[in-house]
């Protein structure tokens, strides 16, 4: 971002004559506003639309297809509708905390974007404690959810809030521990630093670096899903048990804000996973044009991150939800020990495995990954053929 600022304050730039120390924060604030209004809010909305379409597709339904092409503007319609709804605060609720809870939830979620990179130069603030900062601000969401649950003075909300708190704090441990293999390897907590330590090629990603980082990826992704209250870990808002969990008493815009957080948070999960394990915005240096390179980087990062958003939707459409005791068992009895082993294993790997062998393992694991992908698609093809679908079977086809 420094280059961008320098070019802006140079002769003939938009901010010519402004001293650097003033121009830098100005650019940062302007970019921050652009990110929040031009990216975060639309991405949460679009994800909600896409999730409903993907769900519908998996469930042989059509899904929203009326507002705009393929129902694309459904999220705007939903937002408008909720804007015009009455905002009910139950008389028994704690009015202040009840009103405050959505603020904490949304602020905690939007603030994570301060450290989420977009390209090699575009990031609101490249903090030297980037990943730690993200872990920390995500914690604000827990407070908001617990506050919403408690202040509603409703037993379903309370159960949902408490469940959510127990779940999120538990899964913060394996998620936090799974970051360490990467921190050990890079020696930095900065998001951009972590990405720079990887390459564009899959074998240069930490995902395929060694078996421990490979395992750490899965622990992290599962823990992140749990922290984001996603199926199979959506017990705080389990609609078949707790009506609507912590947001039972919320209505209209405030209700929508909780879901804004949930859907937007999916992208954050994808972005963190991409940064830590999948080489972030790294692209081959195919051109000298910084603009073109930035677009390519942004596209790469976005596609990688959004792939995990899609995976989360897919998982949600496939799996049932676990029970609260099973949730805790999975966390403390399996994921925490595995995460600790991953961390120590990576440390030992760094010390004892020679460079050449490590390189071979990287290539070997990448090859293995490619084989898994090929096998997966062959399996899909096999099932499609076995199903032997006729045109009449597409009676409920979502593409109409």
């Amino acid at each position: 971002m420094k280059d961008l600022v320098l070019s802006l304050i140079a002769e003939g730039g938009a901010l010519a004559g402004v001293p650097f120390s003033l121009a830098a924060p100005l650019v940062m604030v302007a970019f921050g506003a652009l990110v929040v209004f031009g990216f975060v809010l639309p991405i949460a909305g679009i994800t909600s639309w896409l999730e409903r379409r993907v769900w519908a597709r998996i469930q042989s339904r059509i899904g929203p297809n009326r507002v705009g092409p393929q129902g694309f503007l459904q999220w705007l319609a939903d937002g408008l509708k909720n804007l015009l709804k009455e905002d009910i605060i139950p008389s028994a609720a704690d009015k202040w905390l009840f009103s405050l809870a959505p603020y904490l939830v949304v602020v905690g979620f939007i603030a994570t974007f301060a450290a989420v990179p977009f390209t090699s130069s575009l990031i609101i603030a490249d903090l030297n404690i980037g990943i730690l900062y993200i872990t920390a601000v995500t914690g604000i969401v827990v407070v908001g959810v617990l506050m919403a649950g408690w202040s509603s003075n409703n037993k379903w909300s309370l159960l949902g809030g408490i469940r959510s708190a127990a779940q999120i704090v538990s899964y913060e441990i394996p998620a936090g521990l799974s970051v360490f293999p990467i921190v050990l390897l890079t020696g930095t907590l900065s998001m951009q630093g972590i990405i720079r330590a990887q390459g564009w090629a899959p074998w240069d990603w930490f995902f395929f670096y060694n078996p421990f980082t490979f395992a750490a990826f899965f622990v992290f992704f599962v823990a992140a899903l749990a922290e984001g209250n996603r199926t199979p870990f959506d017990i705080p808002e389990a609609e078949s048990e707790l009506v609507a969990g912590f947001c039972t008493e919320y209505s209209g815009m405030r209700y929508l804000l909780f879901f804004l957080e949930e859907w937007g948070n999916l992208y954050v999960i994808g972005a963190i996973v991409t940064t830590l394990f999948l080489g972030g915005w790294q692209v081959p240096a195919f051109t000298d044009n910084p603009m073109l390179l930035a677009v390519a980087q942004f596209g790469t990062f976005f596609l990688k991150a959004y792939f995990f958003v899609f995976v989360a939707m897919w998982v949600r459409a496939t799996l049932p939800r676990v029970r609260v005791d099973q949730l805790m068992t999975v966390c403390w009895k399996y994921m925490v020990p595995i995460a600790i082993v991953n961390m120590l294993g990576t440390a030992a790997w760094m010390l004892f495995v020679p460079e050449t062998l490590g390189r071979l393992v990287q290539f070997g694991m990448t090859g293995l990954g490619a084989v898994v992908v090929v096998v997966f698609f062959r399996r899909v093809r096999f099932h499609l053929r076995r199903a032997n679908l006729k045109p009449s079977d597409y009676y409920y086809s979502p593409i109409i």
């Binding site: 769900w55 998996i58 469930q59 042989s60 339904r61 037993k155 379903w156 159960l159 408490i162 469940r163 199926t231 199979p232 959506d234 017990i235 389990a238 609609e239 078949s240 048990e241 009506v243 459409a317 496939t318 799996l319 049932p320 939800r321 676990v322 029970r323 609260v324 005791d325 099973q326 409920y396």
Partner: protein, 384 residues
């Protein structure tokens, strides 16, 4: 109960009691299968008791029978159990025929069995789908309902209705099978049978699904008999009893089918998973029955000669049929007039409700939903 290895009783005596919370689950709750209410006393997530409170869907159907007459009561029987209305139709028709000693044409008996078994499949599909939905997977529900729609299409061709059929009449059925019904029915069965594997792959043998169902709410065979469980709930506990086979009625003795019984294939005998799997297997057996019926169905009339003013002789009759929810009893007392003197319906959901209080002790709140779904309760059938 132990908390962190400490005896709760000791903790209580020392003043560390946690308060029990009283929760109303229902009547307006997403997963109480209609309007059923449970008063749950829970310590955190663990329930100390869950007392069912029935009566929110009482429509005094039995009393209505005393005012609308024998023929006129047929549409009301649809509302006893709207998820499986055909067996209710059949129960009422059979009890009237028994009162008056009417012989039903063979073709009508075949039509009845075909309709009932199609309805049994569609009812079990709902049971399987809602089981998935109640433990958090929405996809099985839509897939099950997709197949159910095809059955509804078939039954709509048969009788013009998709849910409350009003298909049967005293002495037979209202309409004969449509000309190409047999081909369509067989084509459907051929297409549907392999799909059961799909459900099994998607949910039945999913790891999380099994974790949620296995060893939850175990009911022994003896308990099941003591609490008068019927149908798949009874067979899930390993008791081999099916009205269709053991107290035969209609043309069931002439048909080849097995009675699936739970055998604790994944966990303890009589857990939620066994009850669930019995339903999956029953779907397969129903497919077999329909196939045989559609191939063997004889020609002939479908309705016996019944006077418009139907006046059975003084007396009473009780028939038992196997509805989708198990042994369903229809009792009717006639005083010789056009109107029944008393009608009583005995339903499986009602007796299954009574065991919930017993099995729910010590389970978690999420398990209560699983238990309700595993009994396949249908609220209107409880209250009638």
């Amino acid at each position: 109960m132990s908390l962190g290895g400490f005896d709760v009783q000791v903790l209580r005596e020392n003043g560390f009691a946690t308060e029990e919370m009283t929760l109303n689950m229902g009547p307006q709750h997403p997963s109480t299968h209609g309007v059923l209410r449970f008063v749950v006393r829970a310590d955190g997530e663990v329930m100390t008791e869950a007392v069912p409170d029935v009566g929110y869907l009482h429509r005094s159907i039995e009393k209505i029978a005393e005012k609308v007459g024998y023929h006129g009561f047929m549409p009301y029987t649809d509302r006893v159990d709207y998820v499986a209305a055909m067996p209710c139709n059949q129960g009422w028709a059979m009890v009237c025929e028994k009162l008056a000693g009417i012989e039903v044409p063979r073709r009508a008996e075949y039509c009845r069995v075909i309709a009932c078994e199609f309805n049994r499949i569609s009812s079990h599909l709902i049971a399987v789908g809602t089981m998935g939905m109640d433990i958090g997977a929405f996809t099985p529900f839509t897939h099950a309902l997709r197949e159910r729609e095809h059955i509804n299409d078939l039954l709509e061709e048969l009788c013009g209705a998709r849910l409350t059929f009003n298909y049967m009449r005293i002495g037979g059925v209202a309409w004969d099978l449509p000309p190409d019904f047999a081909e369509k029915g067989l084509a459907y069965i051929d297409r549907f049978e392999p799909l059961i594997d799909e459900y099994n792959a998607l949910i039945s043998f999913n790891k999380i699904y099994k974790e949620r169902l296995i060893n939850v709410a175990v009911i022994t065979g003896e308990e099941a008999i003591n609490y008068n469980l019927v149908g798949p709930n009874l067979r899930g506990s390993g008791v081999d009893f099916d009205v269709r086979r053991d107290i035969p009625y209609s043309i069931y003795p002439e048909l080849q089918f097995d009675v699936p019984v739970g055998h604790g294939e994944e966990g303890t005998l009589g857990d939620c998973f066994d009850r669930y799997m019995v339903r999956i297997r029953e779907i397969q057996e129903s497919c077999k029955i329909i196939r045989q019926c559609l191939q063997q169905i004889p020609e002939g009339s479908v309705l016996a000669k019944i006077p418009r003013k139907f006046k059975p002789p003084v007396g009473d009759a009780y028939v038992r049929i196997e509805s989708a929810r198990g042994d369903m009893g229809w009792y009717c007392v006639s005083d010789g007039s056009e109107y029944p003197y008393r009608v009583k319906v005995r339903t499986g959901s009602f007796t299954a409700t009574s065991i919930i209080e017993q099995v729910s002790r010590g389970l978690m709140i999420a398990d209560l939903i699983t238990v309700v779904a595993s009994f396949d309760l249908v609220a209107p059938e409880i209250d009638r």
